[in-house]
């Protein structure tokens, strides 16, 4: 197992220069994600109109994996419906944990593929939580609305 399978260039790049980093001033939904193992804390903000995610940003400090995962996640989620977001999460979760991947609508395949650089974590079980943390936060935000729930990955 080569470390570079985990820390691919695209991960290092998104880890150093996260996209959509920052706060949304008036999110319709937001939630905090907390990984007590390493102390990482992120917040995801969403603007949802109807059933569509119009904007999504995140902030907080984290390791390269969780930062890159947050960054890539915001890129693919922007403009998606909530149903699509759920599909993408299930597919991503299956890929990084080695579970059975649920069938994915063809339209989403390209987006799912963009998350593939993160699947290197599968070989590092303790790091899987780093990759899934922002996704869990989005799930929590969509459930709770603008209340600001905290999810923990441990």
């Amino acid at each position: 197992m080569d470390l570079r399978d985990l820390y691919q260039d695209i991960i290092l790049d998104h880890g150093r220069h996260p996209r959509n980093f920052g706060k949304l001033e008036h999110p319709s939904h937001f939630a905090h994600g907390h990984n007590p193992l390493c102390g990482d804390k992120i917040t995801v903000y969403l603007t949802v109109a109807g059933d569509r995610i119009e904007d999504v940003k995140f902030e907080g400090r984290g390791c390269a994996i969780s930062t890159a995962s947050s960054s890539l996640m915001t890129e693919v989620l922007k403009g998606k419906t909530i149903a699509d977001a759920n599909q993408l999460f299930r597919s991503f979760h299956a890929k990084v944990t080695g579970g059975a991947a649920p069938p994915l609508s063809e339209a989403l395949e390209e987006d799912a593929d963009r998350l593939d650089p993160l699947t290197g974590v599968k070989a590092y079980p303790v790091r899987v939580k780093c990759a899934t943390l922002p996704w869990h936060a989005v799930q929590a935000a969509l459930e709770e609305g603008a209340v600001g729930k905290t999810v923990k990955t441990e």
Binding site: M1, L3, L12, C38, G39, D40, C63, I65
Partner: protein, 407 residues
Amino acid sequence: MTGNGRLDAREVRRDFPIFENNPGLVFLDSGASAQKPRQVIDAVAEFYRRDYANIHRGVYRLSARSTELYEAARETVRRFLNAPDAREIVFVRNATEAINLVAAAWGATFLRSGDEILITELEHHANIVPWQMLRDRLGCRLVVAPIDETGGLDLAALEARIGPRTRLIAVTHLANAIGTLVPVESIARLARKAGAKLLVDGSQAAPRLPVDVQAIGCDFYVFTGHKTYGPTGAGVLWARRELLESMPPYQTGGDMILEVTFEKTTFQEPPARFEAGTPDIAAVVGLARALEYIESLGRSAVLAHEEALTGYGVDRLSSMPGVRLVGAGQRRLAILSFEVEGIHPHDLATVLDRNGVAVRAGHHCAQPLMEKLGLAATTRASLGVYNDESDIDALGAAIRDAQRMFG
């Protein structure tokens, strides 16, 4: 032991099968838990193979032998701590349970609303949370003595926080997160002057320093066997006999009772009063063997070894660009907590692991201290008797590897 009073770690390493079975392993996480020498592993296995039976209540020889080994372990621990009396040694699961026991049996009995418990910013969660629970239950105050800007305990500030209501001071002997050695003897003098009891959390100190509870002058001393090269499942509470005698039981059930009727139960004397149910007999037998193992290396040799290696590690890490060592005051021992610029501790630990170097990354169960230091997490290397300079060098090389990758 080598000529200069230090250990020959290469020799010592041969006692620890983990290294044979994990070639290339550089184990720098003894602060979380130490590896076990074959002397301990074999003692536990042989105990089960030859002498095992439940203790205390059996008339037959196997049970008598098992009981003897268990009670002999009490004497070994007594000697290890230089406690006055083996009956002052209570076997528990770990340091956490020892502190919970003191909080429940001594604290809840003798503390009153408004009384103060004084701890320090250096403490492990195990020496914080039980006192918080007690505070919330009794209406006590939890007072916290700060560290100074170098990471040492500020003794003057601690003294200033002792007041007429201070009933207990609970301090670590050696801070697990950053390696600060605490002057517990001085604190004992302050405690005595104030009429307060002193509990010392020796979890990190017991495997490294010659400990003498009478010389320290404390009232409670706790440590956890798995960090002293012993099995998991055996920890130690030492307390002055009169304190133990004044304390009601903690857990209740078999073995700790004198007489039970449905109306009323009377309890045994200490230490039996505090060991309800079937204890972790094998772990206790193994713990005794582990303490003998440390004694066989020589306790001052162990200390000299870890002191020298700590110095080497401080020098090595300090000289690396981008590496910042977290301060530990005037005297640091065996624990090196550090940050590497631009690399999250979690990523660093993963890269180190792939280089065979096992370290910890995180808050080290000392979140309030990390908060004070303004850190979410650090990377921590901690030493054991099997480590030597080559391990520090491997750590340095692996950090450079990570720096190349993330640079």
